[in-house]
């Protein structure tokens, strides 16, 4: 075997071992979720479910009120994503295509909010949310996190690549600024907007800090909040918890499989970060 084939082989072996390690945790909870209540904790453990059962899922949805949390998360993630795409596209477009007074300072202000994560402003943000009457409501989960510096940046970068001549010729034809934005620019920006939509959905679906801060009533819990709560209980009901965890991953998995290309592209062009 010469040097080159040996390195190729080594690359494959290392890659496959690492891939197995990385896939194992999700693989393992998924397998376990199909085991019966007692089989999940048998020792020594079985690898594949001895008797394939959906009981854990059934119980989680029937007793655990999980359908409710799932619905809450869906409403919040979908509405917040729509709002996120609208307002960040607007802002990104303004910064890319207009030379208005204060645009530089405002852009720096927008981007610098990246340095002030929710975690270091929990207390005052909690009170501002309360002040606006958004405490314990979905509005508090949908509106405040909708503006995102990464989103503004992504859309701005995209609009910078769109030739300004397009706007100028539309103006000569008598189109208003509003018309230019809606009828010319938005259709062009669709790829960037869908990248933002995908990420926004994932951020909101997976988010834990905002729900933790904003929501009080159990029937308004999102999936993540409910799961964190169950996981923190003194005696954990693993059967339901594992089943719910697996279900909670499905929406993101579907989106990932559908939009894998945009995902990687979005990460590559912007270093997407919530």
């Amino acid at each position: 075997m010469n040097m080159k084939t040996r390195t190729t082989w080594l690359t494959y072996v290392v890659t496959i071992i690492l891939a197995l390690l990385f896939i194992f945790p999700i693989f393992w909870i998924t397998l376990s979720s199909f085991k019966s209540g007692s089989e999940m904790f048998r020792y020594p453990p079985t690898f594949f479910p001895e008797k394939f059962t959906l009981d854990n899922y059934r119980i989680a949805f029937e007793k655990g009120n999980f359908g409710r949390y799932f619905w809450n998360s869906t409403v919040v993630a979908v509405l917040s994503t729509i709002l996120t795409v609208i307002i960040n596209t607007m802002a990104g477009y303004a910064f890319a295509k207009y030379d208005f007074k204060g645009s530089k300072a405002l852009f720096i202000f927008f981007i610098s909010t990246l340095m002030l994560p929710l975690e270091v402003l929990m207390i005052p943000i909690f009170h501002v949310v309360k002040f606006f009457g958004m405490y314990n409501s979905f509005a508090g989960l949908i509106i405040p996190p909708a503006a995102t510096p990464t989103g503004v940046f992504l859309l701005r970068q995209y609009f910078l690549t769109v030739p300004t001549e397009l706007m100028e010729s539309a103006r000569v034809d008598g189109a208003s600024e509003t018309r230019i934005f809606f009828h010319i620019m938005l259709p062009i920006a669709k790829p960037a907007m869908s990248v933002l939509a995908i990420f926004s959905f994932m951020w909101r679906w997976n988010d834990f800090m905002w729900p933790l801060l904003v929501i009080r009533d159990v029937d308004k819990y999102t999936v993540q909040l409910a799961l964190a709560n169950f996981s923190g209980q003194y005696s954990v009901d693993w059967n339901s918890l594992i089943a719910m965890s697996v279900v909670s991953v499905i929406p993101v998995l579907i989106i990932f499989l559908l939009f894998q290309k945009q995902f990687v592209q979005g990460m590559v062009t912007s270093g997407m970060k919530d």
Binding site: T11, Y93, F109, M122, I123, P144, N206, F208, S245, M267
Partner: protein, 298 residues
């Protein structure tokens, strides 16, 4: 010559439209970030439970924070966590990214596998690892048993609990930074490596002499992002250990959250702690900027 965008026909609409466009974001960033930042500083100078009128007490909250050993212990734990995780979170994704830009089969599938954990929420990451590292029935202890080692109470001892938290963090973040590195690596011209190969350089030399220096902007980005991300860790730890055993994995954000929202609800004091965290994070970030010269290639 640069042509002015709107010579002669500057309509009022054209002047106002951009402001209209940024208005929603401006409102949210102001109301939910800028104003809270100011309020946070204001609250930190007051004794306040969140319900009654805040009472101004000057710097007393800061003096108290200075003497609060529990706070500094959790701060120290956070530093240990960040300090140990950071090299791995920067190194492993870089290693994987280098594997993933090679001409290998099923590259898309491998990339997806490595990326996938970073799409799973921190809560799920915590739950999965808690399940795997369970004392009696966890698969990891079974594997230890299988190879004749004695079982370990992973989450009931401070050190091993910290180890599992770090492991879960690495698992949950690697994919994200791997893709960031891949984009950086792809911007390095292949001709550089070809030239080096002609000159007889080994792949390892190529990595240290070409890849690392030219990748500096990306490495710097990963450093800053992962640093901030690690420093504010909460959700994953909460689902995995709850901060335990005892307070072995209780990091700053959890400490502050509990001071503000559990039990005594000391909003003023917790605000002071937040301000300290904020300043520490800002100073670290600025220092890194200085040391790395903003991540520019030298």
């Amino acid at each position: 010559m640069k042509r002015k965008k709107n010579r002669g026909v500057t309509s009022l609409e054209m002047k106002l439209f951009p402001y209209f466009l940024i208005l929603p974001n401006l409102f949210i960033f102001t109301a939910f970030i800028a104003v809270p930042a100011l309020f946070g500083a204001y609250f930190s100078l007051h004794n306040w439970s969140g319900i009654n009128e805040p009472v101004f007490i000057g710097l007393q909250n800061y003096v108290r924070a200075f003497h609060d050993m529990k706070f500094w212990r959790s701060f120290g734990k956070t530093l240990i966590y960040v300090g140990i995780s950071l090299p791995f979170i920067m190194g492993i994704p870089l290693f994987l990214a280098n594997l993933m830009i090679k001409e290998i089969r099923a590259k898309g599938m491998f990339r997806a596998i490595f990326y996938w954990p970073s799409m799973v929420s921190y809560i799920i990451a915590g739950i999965s690892f808690k399940f795997m590292f369970g004392d009696n029935t966890g698969i990891i202890n079974f594997l230890l048993d299988l190879f004749g080692k004695s079982k370990i109470g992973w989450l009931t001892q401070g050190r091993t609990a910290m180890f599992v938290v770090i492991l879960a963090t690495i698992w949950a973040r690697t994919g994200f930074y791997m893709v960031t590195y891949i984009s950086g690596l792809q911007s390095i011209p292949v001709s550089y490596y070809e030239a080096a190969e002609v000159d007889g350089a080994t792949p390892l030399q190529g990595f240290f002499k070409i890849t690392l220096p030219l990748l500096k902007p990306t490495t710097f980005l990963v450093l800053i992002l992962s640093f901030i991300d690690l420093f504010k860790a909460y959700g994953l730890v909460l689902a995995l250990t709850g901060g335990g055993p005892g307070t072995a994995t209780k990091f700053v954000v959890q400490y502050i959250y509990e001071a503000a929202f559990d039990g005594k609800r000391e909003m003023g004091y917790a605000s002071a702690l937040s301000m300290i965290l904020l300043v520490v994070m800002a100073v670290f970030t600025l220092l890194q900027f200085k040391v790395n010269k903003g991540g520019e290639i030298e």
